[in-house]
Symmetry: C2
Subunit: 275 residues, 2 copies
């Protein structure tokens, strides 16, 4: 079955509208963007649209690509201290001239809705953070909706990035899954795919995961996002997989919209904790 | 080959003696112990002995098992603020009445030589911490000594505990290994063992890893520590493994002494950063 992430996200957005009404005062999400990469701008726009539906303003703070790490840290810190900014996101990737983690560490933990600062990562690592990284929250949501437990399951995570691979790894281990983390240096990927009950992929390689490589009934979360000829693409060949997989999230329209919805779940949760 | 951890640790201790001489003033390691469990006391004593060799005082701070989380946090914070205490360790496990992570979070990051506070875990997670969790440092030391790179290797980690499994997982992923994390719920452990180039085990199950279960030339780090009839035991059957494994760390006398040595490597490193 192909997961309709758009439809599921709309349900969450409806709940968020109600939730938002219970919170008095202005709620703003600060979005920091360096330069004006069209893909990044389009992602920010999508987030802004969802914010408007919920009753939250996303305010874009744009800086030139010449900005230095130190200055950007300073700006992020300043934006976090504005009490109307209830959350702050830094649109990734940043230019290679900037020390990304250093900038992310300047986000105040209580405003770090993306769970990217080291302080929040540490609390997430020990299972003590009240929010989850948005993409992990989206995965959990789908698993819970279909009453699937990861305990004892073979989970394969392809990719070890900051936004998907590493947080998914930690979370799946905390769920007592048997988790394998594969990357570009992995030699036996086909064999690992064949054994996996669940695959979470964010490699950025179209058609990396195909029907003849996986076992029947597999659950696939495609968290890769590439732009190919102006269109979004994931790691999966949906055609060959849709009959073989028990569940699969497509790109676009799968984890993407859900991840944005859970960004706002996190924002409202942290807003409540700021009083 | 069986690794002689005792001998290797003595080399490190010799280096530490020289290193210590370059640092002026008193260096003390505070060790917090709750109750008086004989095994815990014996571990603390071993650490104290090594400290004496290096020229560092380990001072034991013992509290009754009736102490509450909040009070213990307060004590840990107070001990950290004494400038002579250059590092602080909490001997684990703590009684179940105490919130362990909450206590560990009271250790100041610059004095957290065991890398157990969330703040240090977060920095370790992103690869930015200047020290490594001691057992990970011991594993890295052995790998470097024998010129073994983990990149592209199949690493199996058995156990997902705070001291070994989880930090080893993160570190091996950061080394671009293909890492599988197995636990009590894992169904295909024999198959995973057979495929592993490297096994890091901390399950606490004697004879879990045996010669007929692994592939020839495997590298095994036994990080389990149990007391059986007053003797230390690990997860491995050394008899059947010593011919089959390329390298294996025995228990006792393997990772244990090295881990203690690297505790002091961390202490001196953090001491230098406290000026």
């Amino acid at each position: 079955m192909i997961i309709d992430g758009k439809k599921l996200s709309q349900m969450i957005i409806e709940d968020l509208k109600e939730e938002r009404k219970k919170i008095a005062g202005k709620i703003r999400l600060a979005a920091v963007l360096i330069g004006n990469d069209p893909a990044s701008l389009s992602f920010v726009k999508q987030k802004k649209k969802v914010g408007e539906k919920i009753g939250v303003e996303l305010r874009l703070y744009q800086y030139a690509t010449t900005i230095k790490t130190k200055e950007l840290r300073h700006q992020v810190g300043k934006l976090c201290r504005l009490s109307t900014n209830k959350g702050l996101i830094v649109q990734l990737p940043l230019p290679s001239s900037i020390n990304t983690q250093s900038v992310l560490n300047a986000i105040l933990p209580l405003k770090d809705v993306d769970v990217l600062s080291e302080k929040n990562l540490g609390a997430f690592f020990t299972g003590r953070l009240p929010i989850l990284p948005p993409v992990v929250a989206a995965i959990r949501f789908i698993l819970e909706k279909y009453k699937i437990s990861l305990e004892g399951k073979n989970v394969l995570i392809i990719g070890r990035g900051r936004l998907v691979g590493k947080p998914a790894l930690i979370w799946c281990v905390n769920q007592r899954a048997t988790v394998t983390e594969a990357n570009q240096k992995t030699k036996n990927l086909p064999e690992l795919m064949k054994k996996a009950d669940v695959i979470i992929t964010s490699a950025g390689k179209p058609n990396l995961v195909k029907g003849d490589l996986v076992k029947p009934g597999v659950i696939i979360f495609d968290a890769a996002v590439m732009t190919e000829k102006g269109k979004l693409r994931g790691d999966c060949d949906l055609n060959s997989l849709q009959k073989k997989a028990q569940l699969i999230t497509p790109v676009p329209g799968g984890l993407g919209p859900l991840t944005v919805a859970f960004l706002y779940v996190n924002l409202l949760e942290l807003t409540k904790r700021q009083r």
